[in-house]
Subunit: 230 residues, 4 copies
Amino acid sequence: MDKLRKSVYEANMVLVRERLVTLTWGNVSGIDRTTGTVVIKPSGVPYEELAPEHMVAVELDGRRIDGGLKPSSDTPTHVALYKAFPEIGGICHTHSPYATAFAQACREIPCFGTTHADHFRGAVPLARGLTPDEVQEAYEANTGKVIIERFGKLNPSEVPGVLCAHHGPFTWGRTPAQAVENSIALEVIAQMALQTVNLEPHSVPVPQHIQDAHFLRKHGPEATYGQGLE
Amino acid sequence: MDKLRKSVYEANMVLVRERLVTLTWGNVSGIDRTTGTVVIKPSGVPYEELAPEHMVAVELDGRRIDGGLKPSSDTPTHVALYKAFPEIGGICHTHSPYATAFAQACREIPCFGTTHADHFRGAVPLARGLTPDEVQEAYEANTGKVIIERFGKLNPSEVPGVLCAHHGPFTWGRTPAQAVENSIALEVIAQMALQTVNLEPHSVPVPQHIQDAHFLRKHGPEATYGQGLE
Amino acid sequence: MDKLRKSVYEANMVLVRERLVTLTWGNVSGIDRTTGTVVIKPSGVPYEELAPEHMVAVELDGRRIDGGLKPSSDTPTHVALYKAFPEIGGICHTHSPYATAFAQACREIPCFGTTHADHFRGAVPLARGLTPDEVQEAYEANTGKVIIERFGKLNPSEVPGVLCAHHGPFTWGRTPAQAVENSIALEVIAQMALQTVNLEPHSVPVPQHIQDAHFLRKHGPEATYGQGLE
Amino acid sequence: MDKLRKSVYEANMVLVRERLVTLTWGNVSGIDRTTGTVVIKPSGVPYEELAPEHMVAVELDGRRIDGGLKPSSDTPTHVALYKAFPEIGGICHTHSPYATAFAQACREIPCFGTTHADHFRGAVPLARGLTPDEVQEAYEANTGKVIIERFGKLNPSEVPGVLCAHHGPFTWGRTPAQAVENSIALEVIAQMALQTVNLEPHSVPVPQHIQDAHFLRKHGPEATYGQGLE
């Protein structure tokens, strides 16, 4: 578990280095699938004071394992996603400004180019806002619920993130580091998309055959990108 | 008072580190409520030359206590706010570009998302411009007056900042450091809000039940965020 | 002259530190009014290789004084301004993106707020583009000519800069350092102005009595800002 | 070839330093015209792990010369351009946000000002998207094909870059370093152009006589910019 704590800590610090978080608005978690233990940033601790041993371990039912700090207030959202998406190993939540602007405008991000297609297959989806009852009952857990509801038949390995209406983005990946990478990519994708519609309000998504070519160049059994198996 | 000087100095330097000030456009103050002494940045001194001992102490009636540097030209605004809002302990003024753009456009910032709701309950209000007589009589003191007039029944602990029309933002908090934190939050909130209306000019505020849930998660007796009392 | 070379060199390096120049797009000069010697950045030398002794000295008629590097290609513009505006001691030229966008859109920058009023009295004016004959005859010298033509009765001490249509800004001041300060201020003013019209296309300038109050707080015999004479 | 490897490595690292690449989205190559060897960044290797010896050498027919890392997946595009444009010695590809926004909006960048005219003669052209057949057959090689098709009678020395529809920019130059310089210039030119149309949607290109004066001041036998032959 020390290894998971270290990787979760390091992924949180990459968020800071890449300027994706302001104050304490962001958190990264990771899961050990063999034990079902989730490790996550503590709530409201300034990043400059964080150390690997501050990372909080919780069970998949949300209970804390040890007597340390309180976990991030968003923990129930993370846990819900780990339960629904067994293929993911890390989750990242930020309030990065461009992705959050799409979330606040209640607009998904169309796939306007190959930068997007390299990371997300199709639009970045938008999960609906919560009803008063859902907020009242369990705000954070139900945030997970509406994400899962929105995904339906979408494949979380092909669409590694979502915008929550009025709120901001969650991304994920096989590891905490990859979840953060997808947050970095999403923020630039959102910036480019905003500038694209600024230039041409009626911009259309990139043709499907180009989306597919780019996505499959980086993902799946036919991937040719990177230094993988040859 | 050395402790207050140090905390005011450090809060001023955070402004620089977070890139919220250009040249000398910004100032932070703090108050010792037991003695009524206000400590504030000196006027027009470059940040790279500032030291804690340069911070200027003034009475709540605006008179300087010791024979040091001249206090910030905005001192009468700070003093007016300390007198009207007894619950605050620090004030921060910047010309940060996004918040200032809303002030220049004479528009309040609607609560478009949970980032906003986490820090400000409801819209960031706009105080009106001063009349020729008010400018002539006492520009800085009357800037305080129109802020107080605008607040009316608003609670300065729940709405820790304001935009002055044609001018820029003032924020406050329990301490100088918290006042600066609210300036940092306000600038990102303003950036997100501008991008939100760029994407969707008819964007509406986040539903009230979500605003309340987020604000109360971080503030008040039921707050669950951070490492506070459990 | 070593002192002037040093101050011109340092002012050029502030441009880089403040991220107002890309590649080699910018130059600062200064003048010794007792001898009429102008010192300016050499043409096309990368900033990281610059040293004080590279600064080039020219006469007010444009002739080089010593056998060093070639002066900036914009030297004839600087010289024309020094001759027309005897009150200035330093000039700065950049292609900073927001100010250049106004120049490219052939729009002056209205005084939308007190940040602007603190530095420029009234709008930042726009000088017209050159005719084919003017380009053919002496592009750089005639750039100075159209700036001077545009100024007419404007006071260069109160309006310390201009936008050249299709090109970018020139600013000036009593010293090279102050010319650069005005370029820094102008870029932020331009950013705020663009964001202001984005938010509200029909934004109007700040009322004249507020413009005057702010300008005179920082400039002229009644100035109260800074640590000046008391 | 060690010298070429070093210059290609250094040009890749300038991209990072100038913040033109996010994650691994970018690559620079160079060619030794005497041997026809192209040296290029390896595919998908994080920039912080790159060293000069990782740069991959390939023949102009795309075959790898030695047994090292896999070359950038964009190698066939680079090779096609080196074959078609014998005057170029370096190529740079990025997904820099402003230039990419124009590519995604399928709009060329008009020459709105002298910053643009100093680097590109006329608009930055847009190459069309690939057909399904072209994608299927050879995506990267055909990306080179449509660039060459778009250039027709354009002179690649006068127009040192292109936008690929839905994708992003490629730039080139006499050397890898100059190719990167043109990417830096292109990104700022794109930012200014977006801001220019934001301010004035009907902005027109700068008059031809000014475009010519600026381009020829920096390029060709009559160039007066820089410290070249006098």
